[in-house]
Symmetry: C2
Subunit: 389 residues, 2 copies
């Protein structure tokens, strides 16, 4: 087990109707005037935004708004939000939505107190020291951003989709999680969220760090729970308990508890980020395509942990590691298909991907050789994109 | 799944030599002069206390000391610590040791800013609103107090051993966790710690709250890891990785992540606290005796979750719930015996327990009817103590 630091100071307030506590929690995080960040309007139509506002009103917290944030959120809205916060002397940010709203809120929160261009943090030029406090009212269980210190933003100029990781500067102070708010998610978005949270676990699980039994077992446990609950939320979108399990799985998948003490991987995310940036696909659906290809590559190059994954998560009974791994990957693909996810680029709607471009941007953004579980240069990432065709 | 709030803002700094960061972390938690609380002198003999002090010296943090805290720590030392802190204008507490030192440190930290008798909190008369910040350098993986908001103190007058639970007031700000510090723990203490952490999971796991798949799976995962790693630490006390896994299991067992969204039980702890208070036995060893008796009672009264425990944690293959449960309990007892734990009161050295006294004190301290998984009055708790003979 590697040395580690784990610090997850987000207050999770979970259950029916808990969005009514947003005002009280915003007070608790020390803000008097906040920027509310939200997405494409479903939070307006559902009345959630109005409920959040009235909760802020009730404790005399002022607010301004930044709505219309897109999926795969872009830097233009971040600049806009930073300007707005400075102009209006805002001292906190509340995201109402899923990963896109939250990641935009976080990037704004980090940018406001910083003199330079906020992109400096994403470009790795500067380490973030401070940020406005961020609170979250979660509506999409997927990105896990409600419990992570991370933010993923796409720079429009050059379509660079980049993930920033902070230990604690960008961890939300609170996250309101009401599973009822997810009842109306369209099936494709529900399933994409499931593929996304599962991949957050894989990125940590597939590791060569030896002797990490406790983290392995926790990761496998959360995956098992997702596999059990996913068919229920797909069949019964208003099944509260299944939605609740999936929602909490999404948080545990990405708040770090599945990654303590081990080297992580993250190549599947990197490879998918290029797909999203170039083809605008839904992140989780892109991951459902990339991951089986990545795993298939590993059968020939580093099958050990893939075999463990097959046996412990997919109940494969097979002594030979390669055979076990192959069977596990088949079961994973069957599972993705069963919830309506694509497992090939073609099924994702990308008939003739420009693999050369994807690989070029991937290594430009992430380095010549990438990955923790197996080191991949352009030759190998090309092969993996081809395995996904 | 029940509504819940989960807030675990402890910074865990885990790995070899990390005690050298104690000064820096104490600065980070905002203290300038601390009370160092420790136990029976092993931290003096090992040189750990000296290393902690030199780390504090290096950043000019002053300190006073309260050493010699006993296992099953008592209120007299808490009063002494509170007086010392007030006299010396201390603004933080650092515990160096295991549960006894940490729980004493916490009780002191809560007592210092409170005008009345600190026991008011433990007696349930007052809810703790504030406390001095507490930091921990952990030497015994067992109580999980390094990550919990709880403290257990015994009132000498009447031998009342009482647990206080706070959501966040008493959560340590930081916990330094170096597995090497546990290499020299005597086997009986190592094994007692293992039984203690496992029981922290059972108290949450055995619940009638339906549809808590994710928390069940996480709890089962941590238990599986303990069962795998325990024989290694018993056979090779200086196996770093096994010690590291066990140490982190002890934290996850009790920081709340295994208890979100469900009713909890805690009867085994309550029943053991009476044993410790009256007979002075080691808490974990007492739990190894009480738990199998409690589970055996449940076979006839509420076997469902015990059967799940048997199948998922102990790999029992058996369709009938009662039969599965009985087989699971046998495997648990075999496991406890294999690490040198007693599984009966007799093996614990209590030949003729005064069950009447234990039951009387139990219900005096905890109420006429106790337990979340199954409601128990004096008749039933008497039966369970008898099952432990």
């Amino acid at each position: 087990m590697n040395n580690f630091s784990f610090y997850s100071p987000t207050k999770y307030v979970f259950g029916r109707g808990k969005e009514s506590l947003t005002g009280e929690l915003t007070q608790w995080m020390g803000s008097k005037k906040v920027l509310i960040v939200y997405g494409q309007g479903s939070v307006v139509r559902s009345g959630l935004l109005a409920r959040v506002k009235s909760s802020l009103d009730a404790v005399n917290i002022e607010y301004v708004e930044l709505g219309g944030v897109n999926p795969n959120p872009t830097d233009d809205r971040v600049y806009e939000g930073i300007d707005l916060c400075r102009r209006e002397s805002v001292d906190g940010v509340v995201a109402v939505g899923g990963g896109s709203a939250i990641d935009t809120a976080k990037a704004i929160a980090g940018g406001v107190p910083y003199d330079g261009d906020f992109w400096d943090f994403f470009a790795g030029k500067v380490v973030m020291q401070e940020a406005l406090p961020v609170g979250v009212v979660l509506t999409i269980p997927a990105a896990g951003s409600e419990g992570s210190g991370n933010s993923v933003i796409t720079k429009i100029d050059g379509l660079h989709k980049i993930s920033l990781r902070t230990e604690s500067a960008l961890r939300p102070k609170f996250a309101v999680m009401n599973p009822e708010l997810t009842f109306t998610l369209p099936p494709y978005q529900t399933a994409s969220g499931i593929a996304d949270m599962m991949t957050h676990i894989y990125e940590r699980y597939f590791s060569n760090t030896p002797e990490v039994e406790v983290t392995d077992r926790v990761a496998e446990g959360v995956l098992k729970a997702i596999i059990t609950e996913a068919p229920k939320v797909m069949a019964e979108p208003e099944n509260y308990d299944a939605r609740a399990n999936i929602m909490w799985c999404g948080t545990l998948a990405h708040n770090g508890v599945c990654g303590t003490g081990r080297q992580e991987d993250w190549v599947s995310h990197f490879m998918e980020h290029e797909l999203s940036a170039v083809y605008g696909v839904t992140h989780g659906a892109g991951l459902a395509v990339i991951v089986p290809a990545w795993l298939t590559f590993m059968v020939e190059h580093n099958p050990g942990k893939v075999a463990q994954f097959a046996r412990r998560v997919w109940d494969v009974v097979e002594d030979d590691d390669k055979k076990a791994a192959i069977e596990g990957i088949e079961r994973l693909k069957d599972f993705y298909r069963s919830i309506g996810m694509p497992v090939t680029l073609k099924e994702l709607g990308i008939e003739n991907p420009d693999i050369e471009l994807l690989v070029k941007k991937l290594h430009e953004n992430k380095g010549e050789v990438i990955g923790g579980y197996y080191r991949l240069s352009a030759k190998e990432t090309t092969e993996i994109y081809k395995l996904a065709l």
